[in-house]
Each structure stands twice: as structure tokens, then as C-alpha cells.
Amino acid sequence: MFRSRFRFTLSISDEAGFPVHREDVQDFLPLYEDLLFRAVLEGSVPNDGGLPPASLTPLFGPGGGTKVVGLLASLPSHERTYGLGLLAARVEEILVERKLQEAPDKAKARFAWRLEAHELAHGAQPRRLRSSRLRQPYPLVRDMRLFAGGGGTHEELVSLFVRRPVLESLREEAARLEVEGAHALVGHLVQEGPGAASVVVTDHSPIEVGAGASRAHCEFTPELFLRIRQQVGSRTDGAVLLGWAHNHPPPACVATCPEPAPTCGMLFFSNPQDHEVHRAAFAAPYMVALVSGKEPGRRADEPGVRAFGWQEGRIAERRFQVFE
């Protein structure tokens, strides 16, 4: 985890400049994971489950002051600069939660946000309990025979491959289901060389959400997560958890829509709901999410699939390739 001499504060103000929200930001875990994963893939940090110390330093604008324009994350052997885009989803979440906007992307322009950093006094923030962090090594394997997809193009840190039967099954289910359903995605994380890896999704298994699902939502209880762990842990093929999949059923109005191919689409990764699930439960930097649902301009019974995952500490859409 990061150590920093600074306290980071996110502040949001309305169009008149009036502050509407202010909170400290301490959870930079996705950023640390991105930095560490890159360093492991490049070979500058061993993949031994260790947690090398890292520092987080604010980058200030040319005018000085406390306004942060970027973040410099440093391991002893590796450092990287990050923009503040990773906080954009959090701002949307706060605005929706505080009912300052109805849904993400609506009326966003009415609000402005900034990250501020203040240097901490020496010895500030005493902790109650002594602790030591532990983590598992990334489940990297080097055996390319695990999938027949060939190497990735590596324009992204991690290339994503999905086995065709998995994709077909998700599409078929999305065409049929009128409530949301979910799956655990399993497969292999393959290191292809220095600085490059592929997430290879070979299989999926249904997550029994039971009564906790409707046309618009799908609940994941803590007990359900334990069952997913047991389910994946009992596999004998060496496949590991790589993420999750769920469908967005078409809105009810599609059934009576006069257009044969309405332009509405359900292939999005909603914020805060879907983002929160991914951030809270699938935080490893290689983990992905597949969403299946109606594509704009296509019939609801011909659904598509899109992929999302971590990119420089934030959740973004990912390209993927299909293999047999």
C-alpha cells in the first residue's frame, strides 16, 4: 500500500462555486495494484506475494497551491505518473448518492471537482492496531498451450481472450433471461514476456443469485462470494478466478416497441452499480467483467457482449479477441 506525506481531499462544487461535498481519499488500492502488476510483469519486482513499499506524491500545477494535477506513484524500481481520471467515477458516484444528479453523465457539467493535497504533520494519523499486510502472488503461468489464441497485440498492458463457447453461452442467456443473471469467469493469466500478459477466459460458472435478481439488478451477498470462492477453488484444471459476467435485460418497452431494431442499448457498465461490484470484489488488476445485452440498432434477441476491466487504476472498456 502507498505511503504518502500528504493528505488527499476531494472537493466538489456547484456551478456557482459553492462547495457541495468534501472527503478524504485514502483508497488508492487500484493505483497501487496497477503499479505493482506492471512492475511484476516487467520483472523489476518478484511475483512472490510481497508488498514492496510504494510512495504516492501529488503533482501540482504550475501555479503551486494545493490543487493536484496528477499523481506520481513510485516503487523502489519502478514509477509511473497517473492522471486524475481514476477519480471521475467516484465523483459521479457521490453525485448520484447525494441525489445531486439522477444518473451518471446527466448534468455533469453543473459540477466541478478537484483533488487537493496537504502535507501531513510529522507523526500524524496514529493507528489503533499494529498490522501487517499479506497477499498472494499473481496467478501468472507461462504455458501458452493453455489456449490457442496466439499472443496478444499488447497495445494494452493485458490482452483479453474469451473462448467462443463462453461468449455464445452468455449471448444465448442474455437473449432468454428477463432478469439479471451472473457468472464467475475462470481461466488463466498467461505471461507472454516482459511487460505483457493475457487474460484467457476458458470457462464460466453460474452464480446463484436466487431471489436477489430483477430486470434491473442482481444482488451479491457476502455468503455468495464465499460460494464463488469454493466453486472456483474446487476446480481441478488449474483455472483461476478472472472476473465476472452479467446481463442487462432489455427494458420492458422493447416488447411493444414499434421499431424492429430500436436504437436503445443495454451494453454499458453502469456506475455506480456495476463499477461498485467490480471495485469491491474484483479488484485484482487483471480481473475483467463481461456485460451482455441489447446492442443499439439490433433486436433484443440478438444481444452483444462487451468487456470492461482495469486500466491504469480505473475501470474502462476493454477490447477482446475470441478463440476456439
Binding site: 492496531l129 498490522s131 462470494f225 464465499l226 456495476d274 461498485e276 470484489a281 485484482a284
Partner: protein, 79 residues
């Protein structure tokens, strides 16, 4: 020891008083593990969700035992 549900990471907390509530331990663990502050999480022991107002002694968590932290979240289109 508090481990995340997937077993990828954990934190070993020392000298945890048995009169500490589950909620207090959860708050410590969330900070230690860098979990999103606004997302609701729960602690589980032997696959059972622990009541957050109870003390560790009351729920029967002993020294050196492992508890799991897992979120309670909902995916959805919101439509």
C-alpha cells in the same frame, strides 16, 4: 487475520481486544486493505456473517483465527 473473500490479500492485526466490536474490526480492516470506503462490507467467520454491533468475544472469534471480509453489492442496469 482478516482476508478478502477471494483470498488474494489479507491483513494480520495484532493485539486485537476481544471487546472490540465486529464493526470496529471491519473499519480497521477496510482501511488496512484499501477497500472502497462507501461500499458496505461484512465480516464472516466459519461462513457465517457476523453482526456488526457484537464484540469479537460474543461472536466467538478467538485470537489467531481467520475472518473473511466480503462486500454486499448489487450490479444492475438501473433501468
Amino acid at each position: 487475520m482478516v482476508k478478502d473473500w477471494a483470498g488474494n490479500q489479507g491483513t494480520r492485526l495484532e493485539d486485537v481486544p476481544l471487546d472490540m466490536t465486529v464493526g470496529e474490526l471491519l473499519a480497521e480492516a477496510k482501511v488496512e486493505l484499501g477497500l472502497p470506503p462507501r461500499t458496505p462490507y461484512h465480516l464472516l467467520h466459519n461462513d457465517t456473517k457476523l453482526g456488526q454491533g457484537l464484540t469479537l468475544q460474543e461472536v466467538g472469534v478467538k485470537d489467531d483465527e481467520e475472518v473473511t471480509v466480503a462486500p454486499a453489492v448489487s450490479a444492475g442496469s438501473g433501468c
